[in-house]
C-alpha cells in the first residue's frame, strides 16, 4: 500500500468542533505506528492550521495524504486571504479580535510554529479568494521537539 487519503470539511467559527480533523489525523498516525516525535509535529502543525481556517477563514477543507515516508496535509479555504504574508508569518502577529482571544486563540504563534515544525511548508494566498496551506512532515524529519 502506498498512501492513505482522508478529507475533512471544517466548519467555520465552530469552536466546539475545532480540532476534530487534526484529532482524526493524529489517531490514524498512532494506529499506523508512526513515531511519537513525528506525531507531535503533525499534531501541532495540523491543529494550528485547522484553527486558522476556523477563526480566520470561515472554515475549509483538509486533505491528508499518509504514506510510509511522510504525511502531507493541504488546508484549503475560500476566506479573506492574507494581505501581508510576511507580517502574518511573524511570531506574535495576529488579527484575531478580542472575543476570539478571550477563547484562548490568537496568540500569533500559529503560522510561525507550523513552519517551524514542518519539513515542507508552502502557502498560497490571495485577498478575497482564499488561502491554501500545504505542509509535509517526514517520518524521519526534523529533530524531536
Amino acid at each position: 500500500m502506498t498512501a492513505i487519503t482522508r478529507t475533512y470539511q471544517v466548519p467555520g467559527n465552530d469552536f466546539a468542533r475545532a480540532g476534530e480533523a487534526s484529532g482524526h489525523i493524529k489517531r490514524i498516525l498512532k494506529e499506523l505506528g508512526f513515531s511519537p516525535e513525528m506525531i507531535r509535529r503533525v499534531a501541532i502543525t495540523t491543529y494550528e492550521a485547522e484553527i486558522n481556517m476556523v477563526i480566520h477563514a470561515g472554515g475549509g477543507t483538509v486533505t491528508a495524504t499518509i504514506s510510509p515516508q511522510a504525511v502531507a496535509v493541504v488546508f484549503e479555504d475560500h476566506g479573506p486571504g492574507i494581505p501581508d504574508l510576511e507580517l502574518a508569518m511573524q511570531a506574535g502577529w495576529s488579527t484575531a479580535p478580542q472575543n476570539i482571544r478571550d477563547l484562548g486563540f490568537g496568540a500569533g504563534m500559529g503560522l510561525p510554529n507550523i513552519q517551524k515544525y514542518s519539513d515542507v511548508f508552502e502557502i498560497k494566498t490571495a485577498v478575497g479568494q482564499g488561502t491554501t496551506l500545504s505542509v509535509t512532515i517526514f517520518a524521519e524529519g526534523k529533530e524531536p521537539i
Binding site: 500500500m1 492513505i4 490514524i28 505506528g33 501541532i44
Partner: protein
Amino acid sequence: MNAGYESIYLDETQCVGCTTCMQRCPTQAIRVRDGKAVIIRDRCVVCGECIHVCPHHAMKAKVDSLDEVLGQHKYTIALPAPSLYGQFPGIHTRAPILEGLCRIGFDQVFEVAEAAEAMSAVIHRELRSGSIPHPIITTACPVILRVVRIRFPSLLPHLLNYRSPMEIAARWSKRLAAEKTGLALEDIGCVFISPCPAKCASAKAPLGTLKAALTGIVSIAEVAPRLSAVIGDLDDHEREAHSGPMGIGWAMSGGQSTAVMEPNHLAASGMENIIRILEALENGKLSNVDLVELNACYPGCVGGALTVENPFIAKARILRLMRHIGPVLPSGGCPTDDMRWEKKPEASHALRLDPDLSRAMEMMEEIRELTGTLRGMDCGACGSPTCRAFAEDVVSGRTELKNCVFLSRAPEGDAPSGKKG
C-alpha cells in the same frame, strides 16, 4: 506494553454481558465475548470506571484481604492514603483513624500524606531546575503514566519522573521501623490502604520503578467498615499523626499543585477531562502552564473506585480536617536520594494495528471500508463498543463479521440468517 499485574478482574458468575462497562470504558479496552466482558489488558489504564459503573458489581479490584496481610510479617505498618481520612462522619482529627488502624491489627501507622508532604518540597525545587520540559505532568495518579504511554507517548518527556507517595512512604517507614525494632527489612510488612485499583496495579507491577517496597494493598472499602466499628471510643490525641495539611491535600485534585507551591498550574480530574487536556498538550497548547496536575478520578483520589463515601462529602471533611491540624513533628529522614523512577517508561504500541507499516495501512483502509457498510448505531450488540471498533476487531481477527446483528440478518432485514428455509 506489559500491562503486568491484572488488578481489575471479572467475576464471571456476576457478569450478565450487559455491555455497560464496554460502552463506558474511556479507552475502549473492553469487549463482550460469549456473553462476558473481556478486558484488553494492553489498552486498560486501570482507571476503575468499569468497577464504578457495573450494575451487577462483576468488575472487581484484585486487592489483598486484611486478614491475609496482617498475618504475613512479624511487624506490619499501615500506610493510609490521605483519602481514607474523608470516609468517616463525625471525625474532626485523624487520631481515631490512625489509632483505629492499630486496634484492627497493624503494629504501626505511617501516613502516606507525610511522604507526599516531603515530596512536595522536592518537587517544588524540581519545577525550578529545568530538567523536565514544562509543562510538567504529574504522575502520582498511576493512570496518567498508562494513558500517556498508550495514547500520548510524545508527552512522555513531560512526565514528573518521581515515585508515588505510597512507595516513598513504604521505603521510608520500613527503614525507620527496622531501626526502631531491630527487625530485618524482610520481616516488616508495608500495607497501603488504597482508594483505587490503579495504585494496586502500580504497586504490584510498577511501570516506572523496578522494585516496590510495598508488601500488600488493601482497599479503603474493606478497611473503612472495620475502622468504623472501633473508632467511636477513641480520643482526639494525635499520637501517630506526622503529616501537615499539605500532604493530606494530595487526596483532592489541585492539592498537589498547592502543596508544591506552583501558582501557575492547571489541575484536571476525571478521565474525559484529562484526555482532553493531554490532547491539548500534544497539540502544543497550554505551553504557558508550568504544572499540569492530572487525576483519573473526579475530583481527585476521594473519587477512587475503592472508596465508600461520596467524593464531595469526603473532600469537604478532609478540607475541614486540614484547617484544624495543629503543629506536627515530621518523622525526619525521608529518603530523598531515591525518589525518582529507576527506568524510563517507554511508549506502548497498544493502538498500533500491525508492526508492519504497509500492512497497518492496508488494515486501516479495510477498516474504513467495512465501517462504511455498518449501521453506525454503535449498539454494542456485537460485543464491540462502536461500529468503528467492531470493524477494527474484525480486520484484526478479534471477532467475526457475523456478530453484527444487522449484517447477519437477511437483506430484507426481517429474518435472521440462521433461520431454516
